[in-house]
Structures are given as C-alpha cells and as structure tokens.
C-alpha cells in the first residue's frame, strides 16, 4: 500500500494544498459549499438542456 500511496502522492497538486493552507478552516468549508453549489447548478443546467426537467 505504501508504494501505491507514494505513487499517488507524486500526482497531488500541491499548489492547491498550499493555497488552502493559507485559508482558515471556515473559509475552506465555505469554499467547499460554494463548489458543491456550483456543481449542482451545472447538473441542473445539464438536465434542463437534455429536457429532463
């Protein structure tokens, strides 16, 4: 498992992590909620585009 984790670790985008580390935990939580909201909006738009709504 350690080899697999080491391999996966090489692909981690550390710039995102460094950016997040500069934020407060609250800000990280708020950004997650904003991301989820945007994802839902995209999903709704996709359904509407396909005439599913």
């Amino acid at each position: 498992m350690d080899d697999l984790i080491a391999a996966l670790k090489r692909d981690v985008d550390r710039t995102l992590l460094r950016e997040n580390l500069r934020l407060s935990p609250e800000r990280r939580a708020r950004e997650l909620m904003a991301l989820l909201e945007a994802a839902e909006e995209f999903q709704r738009a996709g359904h509407a585009h396909r005439g599913e709504l």
Binding site: V12, L17, N20, P25, L35, L36, A39
Partner: protein, 161 residues
C-alpha cells in the same frame, strides 16, 4: 446539497458530542478533494443519543439510498440498536458513526481531536495525523487516494511551519 453549516449548528446547539471525520475533516485541514456528506463519530452515551435523535428529528432523517416507504423510525431505540447510520435529511447527507475502523469510538478519538470554529460553531475535528491513520485502515480505493493527498498536506503544513 449538504448544508454543513446548519447541520453543525443544530448538533452543536443540541449539545451533541461528536467528532468530525471523513472528507469534511479533510476539507477543514486543507484537502482539495470535495465531499458531499458530513461524517461524524458520535458518543454512544444514552444522554448523547437522546440529544442526537432529538436534534435531527425535525429534519426528516431517512436511510440514504433506501427506497422510499421503508418502516424506518428515527428515535432513540433505533440509534441504540444500530451503530452506524448513513442518512439523508432535509439539510443533506450525514453519516452518523458509532465507531470507525482504525479509530474506534468517540472516546477513543477524543484525544486525537482538535477544536475548530467553523460558521461560528466550535466543533471537534479529527486531527490530521489520526485522519490519515483511519483512512489508511479503511483502505478503500478512495481512501488511499485521500491518504496520498493528506500525507502531502501534512508535509506542506510542516514546510509552512
């Protein structure tokens, strides 16, 4: 969408003893992997189970992914007879865990928890090192992916001082 803010607020206001674990704990530490549910390990003490059931009752908890109409009753007896509950509520998805692989129950996790104030609510959140440990123990493909990121996060945190 899961309203992390309101879920944490109602649990906290009700005085429920819990520790945030899983993907949302990762988010609070700085993970960039999004999660859609709130995972908490709750204390199985009788008074805490009372507080938990009362806090969530007004929010229509139901087994996530189960077909509608099952005879599921959200009350203290149900919680006492079960352990881990994967629920959907009108505030979103929440996993209530009596214990977790590699971490144990609420009391066992408590020494590894830190207090984080989010949305004005002081909450216990599993520390990053222990979070890595329990995700390693869980060992599912998505956990392994998360471990890689969390270990990188730990290294970055160390570098940042």
């Amino acid at each position: 969408m899961t309203d992390f803010h309101r879920l944490l607020r109602i649990l906290s206001d009700a005085g429920v003893d819990f520790v945030i674990v899983g993907g949302f704990a990762g988010t609070l530490h700085g993970s960039a992997i999004p999660t859609r549910d709130l995972d908490v390990v709750y204390s199985r003490k009788p008074e805490n189970m009372d507080r938990l059931t009362e806090a969530l009752a007004p929010h229509s908890p139901y087994l996530r992914g189960a077909p509608p109409g099952l005879p599921f009753r959200w009350d203290r007896e149900t919680v006492a007879k079960g352990l881990n509950f994967t629920l959907i509520t009108d505030l979103g998805a929440i996993d209530l865990l009596g214990e977790i692989v590699g971490g144990g129950d609420f009391a066992a996790l408590l020494p590894h928890a830190i207090t984080v104030t989010i949305f004005g609510v002081p909450c216990r959140c599993l520390g990053l090192e222990k979070l890595i440990e329990v995700k390693r123990a869980a060992g599912r493909p998505r956990d392994i992916q998360a471990v890689a990121e969390l270990e990188a996060l730990l290294e970055e945190r160390g570098r940042a001082g």
